[in-house]
Symmetry: C2
Amino acid sequence: MIGVFDSGAGGLTVVKEIRRLLPEVDLVYFGDTARFPYGNQSPSLLRRYAEEDAALLVAKGATVIVVACNSASAAAGAHLKATLVVPVFDVIGPAVAEARRRTTHGRIGVIGTKATVASGIYERLLAEPKGRYTVIARAASLLVPLVEERWWKHPESIRIIRRYLQPLKQAQVDTLVLACTHYPFLQPILQRVMGKRVAVVNPAEATAELLRQYLIEHPDAARSSEARGALHCYVSSDPQHFSQTARWWLGEKVEASEAQTNELAG
Amino acid sequence: MIGVFDSGAGGLTVVKEIRRLLPEVDLVYFGDTARFPYGNQSPSLLRRYAEEDAALLVAKGATVIVVACNSASAAAGAHLKATLVVPVFDVIGPAVAEARRRTTHGRIGVIGTKATVASGIYERLLAEPKGRYTVIARAASLLVPLVEERWWKHPESIRIIRRYLQPLKQAQVDTLVLACTHYPFLQPILQRVMGKRVAVVNPAEATAELLRQYLIEHPDAARSSEARGALHCYVSSDPQHFSQTARWWLGEKVEASEAQTNELAG
């Protein structure tokens, strides 16, 4: 079973892509809604949360872990890969690979949470080959609240996005990485503001594709046990609200249950 | 010692008013930064968090508890008052009393988080005398992120505020309650958008005044032990970031320490 976790419902954008490419695989999802959002938290706290989230998924039967959250991937991706027995995928490696493929002039823009941008991980992963890539990463902290408020197309949202993207446009980036699970909801506006010629990278797609390749090479890693293509959802708070959101985002009925990371820690 | 808690640094607006009115009293503050913000959380989760936060303050020596957070006050104020041995103050009772005093035509507007507005507590507390008050409460979820982003005076902030306040202006409220610890930072814009004739109520002021009266009647409730007017700050994550914010907001040096509510629960 493939386990996916995120700070809340945002990681369902990754679930959606995985289900599109791998419809027969069973999934278990954990959204840490009681501690949402992760984007302003410190690296040490994010490592602790990510450890607890991954442990919960393993306890629920996950044999592969996908860190859907960019903030958690930046702070804890390498740490989880080094310490967990099961294979761990994060969303940043695939996003970087996709940005390398799609950039025409090596000018790569990244928008994400404060935690993701402060980590400097995109600059580090694109430092080689030396001088090939210029990375302009900017925190766009209001975009998650705008998506949560469902202000997809409000003029206020467009103005805020213009302000955040202005330095990236000025730096003439040719590629823009949406380094947060919430941002695909704003993709039409982001694309419009950046212009048609800028490639917009949704890490969810690249991550699902990498996972698909992995499962071709390791067919036993995530065999279906029961109903093929099942989706089990757990959240640390308010499963009803999550179920509504999930139903709406995924277009299918989702019954989330409550699960506490504390139970494992205690 | 007076214990004050909030989901993060916002409750320092309450600390500021308490220190202004009661400069000789010792204070212990807890900001639950690891689980910030509280404003979108469910009542049952907020009750659990509030219980843990209050227990931490009592363990640190608090003999009076002030729930600075409106969301926690709405969900758990009555519960804490009923279950804790020490006296508990919340910010909603004083805000309602102040709104009653200041309203000219009984038309009271309230802006707050989703959790505070969904609780319906302002409508309930202003239901008597029957027909005297009309309450128009609206969630203004983006205001906390705007304050955290420090967009105090950005044109985007003004536009967002206009959109949130429009139904309150249309309903011709004569009083506006800022039912969230973050909102006093936007008070100049909020006042400007509402117009000069609308009374703006900052619950922090009313709460500090109620506390002052209580301490006159109960002088032993919060005697100073060591340095008079000391302020001890604890946060569940990133004390350094909190210390910077606190220094800037309060205009004095603050050294926050890390403290875990889990330690008490476990």
